[in-house]
């Protein structure tokens, strides 16, 4: 039989159409992308985009700030108690001094001193430079901090977040995470150290600062500060796997 010959019939389409419309409605409503389904589908997109999509509803930042403030307050109390205890005997005093200097070194106390402030800003959009160069990336912050350490900085903070061992910088969509705190431009990097050395090192031709300034002079600005305070590190210091090696006597 030729299937293209007209087979005009009088069959009513209502009942089969209804049945299949029922099936189709069921399929569409199951396939409808709800929030739950979207959360599941996020896994199949790029990690970068996934964080950007997923960060909309989850706001840990306020909670994190609160806990961080609490940690800082407790650390100050802890230092005060250690000092009070050490007033009693000479040995305890020596122990406490070494403890406090270790804490300063580790970045667990508020510190002050002279240094420089580097402000990183997104450049203004121009035609003759690619847009990706105009944006301050996590790697730019990382490079600036690295060069500051290299120049002999003794303490560094980024937008009020103290940089310590294990501090990481990571690009997440439109913001940069510094130890899971979201920051955006302007990125203010404060460093305490020998002012002259720091500023000389940062102005090195071919360095990160001059690289940023070659795109747009406003992208990196350096200022000398006679005295500034850097906050203490507010993150967790719990060690799960690390144990000191006992000295053999």
């Amino acid at each position: 039989m030729n299937p293209f010959v007209s087979r005009i019939t009088g069959q009513s389409p209502i009942v089969p159409l209804s049945i299949m419309a029922f099936v189709l409605g069921f399929m569409i409503s199951v396939a409808w992308i709800t929030n739950d389904a979207r959360a599941q589908r996020i896994r199949s997109v790029d990690p970068d985009q996934a964080v950007r999509i997923g960060s909309g509803d989850l706001n840990f930042q306020d909670e994190y700030k609160k806990l961080k403030d609490e940690v800082l307050r407790l650390r100050v109390e802890n230092t005060a108690l250690q000092n009070a205890m050490a007033k009693e005997t000479g040995e305890a005093k020596v122990l406490n001094e070494s403890l406090q200097s270790a804490k300063v070194f580790a970045g667990l106390t508020e510190v002050e001193g002279p240094g420089i402030v580097i402000t990183l800003n997104d450049g203004k959009d121009r035609i003759d430079a690619p847009l990706v160069d105009m944006i301050v990336h996590d790697t730019d912050v990382l490079k600036v901090v690295n060069e500051l350490w290299n120049a002999g900085a003794e303490a560094v903070s980024v937008n009020g977040n103290r940089v310590v061992t294990g501090t990481n910088f990571r690009c997440v969509g439109s913001v940069i995470l510094v130890d899971s705190v979201k920051i955006a431009t302007p990125v203010v990097v404060q460093a305490i150290g020998a002012k002259g050395t720091l500023i000389g090192a940062m102005k090195l031709p071919g360095g990160i600062v001059s690289e940023l300034q070659s795109v747009d002079a406003r992208m990196a600005q350096i200022a000398v500060v006679e005295k500034m305070q850097l906050p203490a590190y507010g993150g967790a210091t719990e060690l799960r796997n690390l144990r000191p090696v006992e000295a053999k006597s």
Binding site: F22, S29, V30
Partner: protein, 133 residues
């Protein structure tokens, strides 16, 4: 009577909402293609009904096989790294548009037939014997 399929569509949708079972990532894509295939077949069925060429067997087997073939092709595309999903979406989208435009033409023709018929009836009432001056 014409709205019965629409009511069934909504009943099916409500039933799907009641289940609230989140589907897996890949199955979601395949189901989307299957939805397109189903929509295409239903549009084709309506069109065939308007043309008076509707066959139960053709319609029901067409629906099931289109849905299954679309899902299978999308799945196969994912396995062999070709985006057959897009091909399915394109083909079914084109066919849905075709069918809908044909349905629209049928509806328009019927509406104009109805208008012409009414005008003739009215003139017949106003002038019962047009042959006489």
């Amino acid at each position: 009577m014409i709205f019965f399929p629409l009511v069934c569509l909504f009943v099916g949708a409500v039933l799907g909402l009641l289940i609230r079972e989140p589907i897996r990532t890949e199955a979601g894509t395949y189901l989307a293609v299957a939805c397109l295939a189903g929509l295409d077949t239903i549009c084709g069925g309506i069109r065939a009904g308007l043309e008076g060429k509707f066959h139960n067997d053709v319609f029901i087997t067409g629906f099931v096989s289109n849905v299954l073939i679309a899902m299978f092709l999308a799945w196969l595309g994912d396995r062999i790294g070709t985006n057959i999903f897009l091909v399915c979406a394109l083909i079914f989208g084109t066919r849905i548009f075709n069918n809908l435009s044909l349905i629209r033409r049928f509806a328009l023709t019927r509406w104009q037939d109805f208008l012409v018929r009414r005008r003739e009836q009215q003139s017949a009432v106003a002038n019962p014997n047009p042959n006489l001056p």
